[in-house]
C-alpha cells in the first residue's frame, strides 16, 4: 500500500513539475494533461474490469453523462463545473448502479455485450434528445476567460494541477479499494463466484458497489474532459471505440488489475496517438484506430497474461 502511494506521488509530482517548468501553453503540457485524463479513465475501468474482471465495453455512458451534466448545468443555470461534477457523478453512480442490477449477473461476453448496448443506447438518446443535449450538433462550453471558479483556462498549464488532483483521487481510491475489504471481496468474486457465495460473500452486492464507484468516478473524468476540450457531441463522449474500448485498452496495455497498469498504459497510448496524429493525421483518419485494433489483437495473441491480473498475481503469490 505504501509502495502504491509512493508510485502515485512520483507520477503526480512528475506531472506537476512538467506543468510548472514547461511553457503552459505548449504542446508538451497539453500532452501531459491528456495522459492524466487517460490514466484516470483507465483506472476507473480498472475497478470493474481489473478487480472484478467484468469486461465493460460501455464506460462511455458514464463518461458522457458526466460531461453533459456539467455543461448543461453551466449553460442553463450558470452553475460552476466544480458543483456540476458532483451532480454528474451522482447521476452516473445511480445510473451505473441501476444498469448493473441486471447486467452484473451476466458473465464474460454477455456482460460485455450488454454494456456495449447500454453505451450505444446512451449515445442514441443524447443524439435524439436535442432539447436537452443539443443533439448531433453538440454543445460548447461558454468561454468566460481564465477562471478557476468555472474551471476553464486558455492554455493547458493551469489544468495540470486540477488533473493531477483527479489522477491522485482516482488512483488512491483504486489503491484503497484494492487493498481494502471491497477489493478482496471483488477479487474473491472474480476468482470463483460460486466459492465466494458459499463463503458468504454477497457477490452481486460487491459487484454493484464496485461498478457504482467506477461509474461515478468515470463521470468526473468526463467533466474534466469537457472542461479541457470545450466541445462535446454524442459521438465524442459516447463513442464506443474512442472512450469505452480505449479505456479498456489503456488498462490492458499496462496490465489489468494493478495500479500501474493504466498509468503506463496511458503514457504508451497517448504518446502513440500523438506521434501518429503528428505524422499522418491529415491524410488518413483511420490510421491511429487501425493501429489500436492491431495492438489489441497483438496483445491478445502474444501477451495474453497482460489481459488477466489473475494468473499474474497467483503466480507471484505462489513463488
Amino acid at each position: 500500500m505504501i509502495r502504491s502511494l509512493l508510485v502515485i506521488s512520483i507520477f503526480a509530482a512528475a506531472a506537476l513539475v512538467a506543468g510548472a517548468v514547461l511553457d503552459p501553453r505548449g504542446y508538451i503540457v497539453r500532452v501531459v494533461c491528456l495522459m492524466l485524463l487517460a490514466a484516470s479513465l483507465g483506472q476507473c475501468w480498472n475497478i470493474v474490469g481489473g478487480l472484478a474482471n467484468q469486461i465493460s465495453l460501455g464506460h462511455a455512458a458514464f463518461f458522457g453523462i458526466g460531461a453533459y451534466t456539467t455543461t448543461i448545468l453551466q449553460i442553463r443555470y450558470g452553475i460552476s463545473p466544480w458543483i456540476g461534477l458532483f451532480l454528474g457523478a451522482a447521476i452516473a453512480g445511480l445510473v451505473g448502479f441501476l444498469i448493473s442490477i441486471p447486467t452484473m449477473r451476466l458473465k464474460g461476453s454477455y456482460f460485455a455485450l450488454a454494456t456495449l448496448a447500454f453505451g450505444e443506447a446512451c449515445r442514441i438518446f443524447a443524439t435524439a434528445a436535442a432539447g436537452l443535449t443539443g443533439g448531433p450538433q453538440g454543445i460548447s462550453v461558454p468561454f468566460v476567460g481564465n477562471s478557476w471558479a468555472m474551471m476553464q483556462f486558455r492554455g493547458a498549464g493551469p489544468y495540470v494541477p486540477i488533473l493531477v488532483g483527479l489522477f491522485i483521487l482516482i488512483s488512491v481510491i483504486f489503491v484503497v479499494l484494492s487493498n481494502g475489504k471491497l477489493g478482496y471481496l471483488l477479487r474473491a468474486t472474480r476468482e470463483s463466484e460460486d466459492a465466494a457465495e458459499v463463503a458468504g460473500v454477497n457477490t452481486l452486492g460487491v459487484k454493484l458497489a464496485g461498478s457504482t464507484i467506477s461509474a461515478a468516478l468515470t463521470a468526473v473524468v468526463g467533466t474534466m474532459f469537457v472542461q479541457f476540450n470545450f466541445f462535446i457531441d454524442p459521438d465524442i463522449v459516447f463513442n464506443p471505440t474512442s472512450v469505452s474500448i480505449r479505456a479498456a485498452l489503456i488498462t490492458i496495455v499496462g496490465g489489468v488489475g494493478i495500479l500501474t497498469g493504466p498509468i503506463f498504459g496511458a503514457i504508451a497510448i497517448v504518446t502513440m496517438e500523438e506521434v501518429l496524429s503528428a505524422y499522418l493525421s491529415n491524410q488518413a483518419a483511420g490510421v491511429a484506430p487501425l493501429i489500436f485494433g492491431g495492438l489489441l489483437i497483438a496483445i491478445v495473441l502474444w501477451k495474453p497474461a497482460g489481459l488477466s491480473a489473475i494468473s499474474f498475481s497467483r503466480k507471484r503469490a505462489l513463488s
Binding site: 465495453l57 441486471p102 454477455y110 455485450l113 450505444e120 438518446f125 483511420g286 495492438l295 489483437i297 488477466s308
Partner: protein
C-alpha cells in the same frame, strides 16, 4: 389500423433480411462458442463488395450479394484460421478483446480504403411499390425478403442434408466426439466461421439494395444482430428468421409511437431486458 398493418408488412419484409445477417452470428456462436463482436463488420464488408460489384460489373446488389458472400467467407475463414483459432480455448477476456480488435481493424481499414462517404446503388425498381388495397409493398423490400428466404432454405438444406452440414452440427454438439468419427474439427471451425461471416456479408449485400454503406454501417447493426439471435434462439435457421422478423416488426412498430431517431432505442431496451431474464446466455439450454 392501416398504419399498424403497414408497419407490420414493412417490418416483416425488412426483418427477413435481418434473419440472414443474424444466422451467420448464430452459426459462429453455436459452433465455435465465441461471441464475435466483429461480426457486423462483415456485413459492412459485404455491403462494399456488393457496391463495387454494382459499380464496376453492373450487378444488381441482390445478385452481387453472391460476391459479398465469397468475400465474407474468404476473410472470415482467414481470420478464423490465423486469429480466432488461437483463442479457441482461451479465457473470455481474450476472446472478447480479439474480436473487438478485429472490429476496430476492419472498420478503420474500410475507412482508409474507401473513405467516409456514404455510397448507394441505383436500381430500376428502387422507388417502385405494389399497391394491395390500402397497403403499399415496397418492391426492393419484397425482393430482398424473397432473396433472404431462398438463401435460408438453401442454408437449411446444406445444414440438414450435406456431409459438411452434419460435420458442423456434430462439432457444435461435441467437438471431441466428432473428431473420433473422423471430422477435422479445426477445419470445421474454419468453414463454419467463414460460412457465418459469409452469410452476414450476404445479408449486407441484400440490404444495400435499399440503404447506403459507410465504414460505420456495421457498428449500427451490432446490437440489432445480437437481439435477433437472443430472440430467435441459437443455432436454428428458422429461429434466426423468426427472430429477424420479430426485430423488424418491433423496429417498424416503434416508429409509429416514437420519433425515428430513437428507433433503435427500443431494441436496446429489449436486448438488455432479454439478457437479464436469460442471464445464462443467448440460448437457455445450450451452455456453450
Amino acid at each position: 389500423m392501416t398504419a399498424f398493418l403497414q408497419a407490420l408488412i414493412d417490418g416483416t419484409l425488412v426483418g427477413g433480411v435481418y434473419g440472414i445477417i443474424a444466422v451467420g452470428l448464430s452459426l459462429v456462436f453455436g459452433v465455435l462458442g465465441i461471441v464475435n463482436f466483429a461480426q457486423a463488420e462483415f456485413m459492412m464488408l459485404g455491403m462494399y463488395a456488393a457496391w463495387f460489384a454494382w459499380r464496376y460489373l453492373g450487378l444488381d446488389p441482390l445478385i452481387g450479394a453472391a460476391i459479398s458472400f465469397a468475400v465474407g467467407f474468404g476473410i472470415g475463414a482467414l481470420a478464423q484460421r490465423f486469429l480466432i483459432q488461437r483463442v479457441m480455448n482461451a479465457p473470455h477476456v481474450s476472446q472478447i478483446f480479439l474480436t473487438v480488435g478485429l472490429l476496430i481493424v476492419l472498420e478503420n481499414a474500410a475507412l482508409l480504403l474507401f473513405g467516409a462517404d456514404f455510397r448507394t446503388v441505383q436500381t430500376p425498381y428502387q422507388t417502385q411499390s405494389l399497391q394491395m388495397g390500402p397497403f403499399f409493398i415496397s418492391v426492393p423490400y419484397l425482393a430482398a425478403f424473397c432473396n433472404a428466404l431462398v438463401v435460408s432454405v438453401a442454408l437449411w438444406l446444406v445444414m440438414a442434408r450435406t456431409w459438411i452440414g452434419r460435420a458442423i452440427r456434430a462439432t457444435a454438439q461435441n467437438a471431441m466426439a466428432a473428431e473420433i468419427f473422423g471430422v477435422d474439427a479445426k477445419r470445421v471451425y474454419m468453414i463454419a466461421f467463414g460460412l457465418g461471416t459469409g452469410l452476414t456479408a450476404f445479408g449486407g449485400g441484400i440490404i444495400l439494395s435499399y440503404s447506403s454503406v459507410s465504414p460505420t454501417s456495421g457498428a449500427q447493426y451490432v446490437v440489432l444482430m445480437f437481439t435477433v439471435v437472443v430472440l430467435g434462439g441459437l443455432g436454428s435457421v428458422l429461429g434466426a428468421l423468426i427472430g429477424g422478423i420479430a426485430v423488424g416488426i418491433i423496429q417498424s412498430l416503434s416508429t409509429l409511437v416514437m420519433p425515428i431517431q430513437v428507433q433503435n432505442l427500443a431494441l436496446f431496451v429489449i436486448f438488455i431486458a432479454l439478457l437479464t431474464f436469460r442471464p445464462q446466455g443467448l440460448l437457455g439450454g445450450a451452455s456453450r
